[in-house]
């Protein structure tokens, strides 16, 4: 991971490599990583990137706390 991240030249490439390496890391919370990649690990993040990421994390917490609802929604 370090090698990949360091070899990346531009901030965008660096962040992309960082996101990829986080996704592939053992034991990483992939849902959380997806949220970070989608909202935070951006060279040009949206103005409300933090709010969007927070909302996504809260939604994820509710889904995990209510697995039956999640199953119903998925089913």
């Amino acid at each position: 991971m370090e090698g990949e991240a360091k070899s990346a030249e531009t901030p965008e490439a660096f962040l992309n490599a960082l996101g990829d390496s986080l996704k592939g890391k053992d034991g990483a919370d992939t849902d959380l990583v997806e949220i970070l990649v989608a909202h935070i690990l951006k060279a040009a993040p949206a103005k409300n990137a933090v709010a969007n990421a927070k909302d996504a994390i809260l939604k994820l917490a509710v889904e995990r706390a209510n697995p039956s609802k999640q199953g119903a929604a998925n089913g």
Partner: protein
Amino acid sequence: MADTPCHLLSLGLAGFRAYLREKTFDFRKKRNLAIFGPNGDGKSSVIDALEFMFSKEGTLERLGLRTINNQAGFAALAHHLADESEILPNVTISVIKGKDVQNGERSATGPKRPIPAVATELVGCFVVSPIIRGHALRSFVEEHTPEQRYMDVATWLQLGPLVEVQKNLRVLRLQVKAAAEDLLPSQRIDIRVAKETAQVVKSWDAVTVLAHVNASVLAPLDTKLALTALAVNDSAYVELESQAKAEENRVGLAGLRQIRNAAVALWTETTEIETGELFINGAIPVFEAAVAALSAAVQKEAEERDKAAHAAFETLWKAAESVFSEDATVPARCPVCTTPIDETKAGSIDAIRTHVSRHLEELADYAAAKKTLNEANTVAILAQAQLAAALPVLIGLLSDDDAALKAEIIAYQGFIAGWPGGDVQTSDNIVAEIAKLLIYLDQVIADIETKQGDHTYVKAKAKIDHLLELQAEHDLVLRTQEELANLSGALTAQATMISCEIRKKVQVLLDKLQTPMNDIYKLIQGAGVPIRLELPPEDDTNQQRLNLVIDFAKNRTGVQPGGYLSDSQIHSVALALRLAAIKLFNAAAPIIALDDIVTSYDADHRRTIAGLIAALFRDCQILITTHDERFFNYLKDQLEGKTWAFTRIIGLDPTYGPRFADHKVSDEMIEERWAEGESAANEMRQAEEEWLLGICRDFGVSVRIRPLERAYSYERSELASALASFLKATKLEPACIPGVNNRFLNSLQKGEIENFGSHFQDAPYGDGSIGDEKARWEEFKKFRSQFCCKKCNKSKFQRPMPLTKPVCARVGCEVQFEFAGAPMGDA
């Protein structure tokens, strides 16, 4: 080719900042430029032009985008007279990479000021911002917080987006942590629990809620009924559910009361407590009373109708009453049949009067009986309607247990519906049944009220179901908080990892910078004080920081520079850092723009910095502006003349822009003008003036010392006359210029050159067309070409004292100047 660095070929400003009229700086012959000028005369506008050209937002950092607080917004980019002068404010740039030349223009006005492709490409080559402004250096070291400094350095290293990521991560981490610790959702549940338990249970606690349910909800119904857990599979809940269902099927207290009310509406018997009088009320007795009254009225009316059989003669009797009244004149004969009164059946007036009076009374009785009948009929119909409406209510409420009563009432209902027709049906049985029903209901209701009050199994189940829902919500809130806490922990771990990677990337760059930065610092200051750039670990209270510390002495290591270094040393730390970063990371576009960087330095240090630029940045393209003439002169002394152009701003003309001296107009610039189909008269005049100034300076021509306020403003005629006088005195005579009868030299001597381009319409040059300009320029070049060393062909001279004639300035040549004869290029 890929590794070939980019350089600026030219930079043009028009209507931009201090520059109203177009001004182009040409870097083709000499890629470096030093501008000296007094404060406020427009030298920084040149650096502004670069900053603007490279800016994403199309503005300057100190202007911002909008007019707000201390910022003037992008509107301040344009010269205030640009509109009035119909000049479109813009900056132009020409960039060369290898042999590939790209041009770009950026408008400095209007909401859209799109960055040209060439600038985007050039910006892409910068790892570090190429612009260093003196005023910002000191604040970096001394005033900025470690957080600001981290941001500064990261921005210089074009790592701003990574710092943004770190900042966003930190904010996100804190917000998610706060959400995980937020008690509001639980408090909302508590408020609802308190409401559901009539404020008995103030906050959710499973044991307390269970106790409340057993004591206040279930015990009033059945003291043996108690939940062991608030759950739908608890045996007590199952029993409750069963009871509630049964209660729904039977009739509850409310239902019993409803039946009772329906029965009472039909028939009820009450006793006045004080008097002991018995009252019977209800739709049935009312109806029956009405029917009885109606029956009596019918009989009475029939009787009276017989008596008033002659009711048809009512009008006659009325008319006769007035005729035979006592105060009237008595007629002798019957007014109808003309029978004499004495011969009538009555036989006399008095008998007639009695007869009339009796008939009239009978008629009145009949009318009264008829009215009574009508009223009784109305009352009976109304009572029938009320009874007809009340009967179905009770019928609907009676259960199968009361089937007999129900059947009787239904039959009675049929009678009532058909009344007054059909067989008369008495209500005796119904009334007796209703009386029994009321006695039973009163007994049952009293029993229930005594036993459970308003409590019912249905209500109890509903209450417990609400609490079960609250329990589910409470559990969900707890699980959500737990999941949030887990996510917060995972986020912290990932944020730490990401931030750590970013810090490593920054630290790698900082480590690379450390040695060259210290080298540059040592060169400037003469002695080194080890400077270290450290990134302390991030924590919750401090965001990303950069500690810039020095090892001042053995017992003062890792200390803040502000407390131990002088102004110039602090300045040097920042300057060394910036220069080292540019030198190290901007190899793809080694351009450096230095705006007034020596304000903190004494003369020796200024000379050192000039030497530093000459020694370490020879391979860079440098634009320097300074208001320090001594530094400017040091630059001229130490930098190579063949790659450096030096120019001075001699004043700021509000209706023109900065006025320059020594800035050479190149032959290519003039050729380009013509290639674009434009007149180059102004450039030619400037080029001739520049050449005159240069040759006069080289030859050591004596000119009148100018007044202080116009120290550098030599007029061309003045220079031309001085040169002519010098040439004449030294018996140096240029050759004639072919084709113009030596007009150029004569015009030079007469001071006519300054009017060239404006007043040269006289023959042989015609009307000042581009063709004429070209002819004139060729003559000038031929004239100019005579001023070269006959040995080495160089055109730089000097005349050290006490020589009377100039000599070649090239080291090792130094041949005395003489005109070579016919001008070069002469056919």
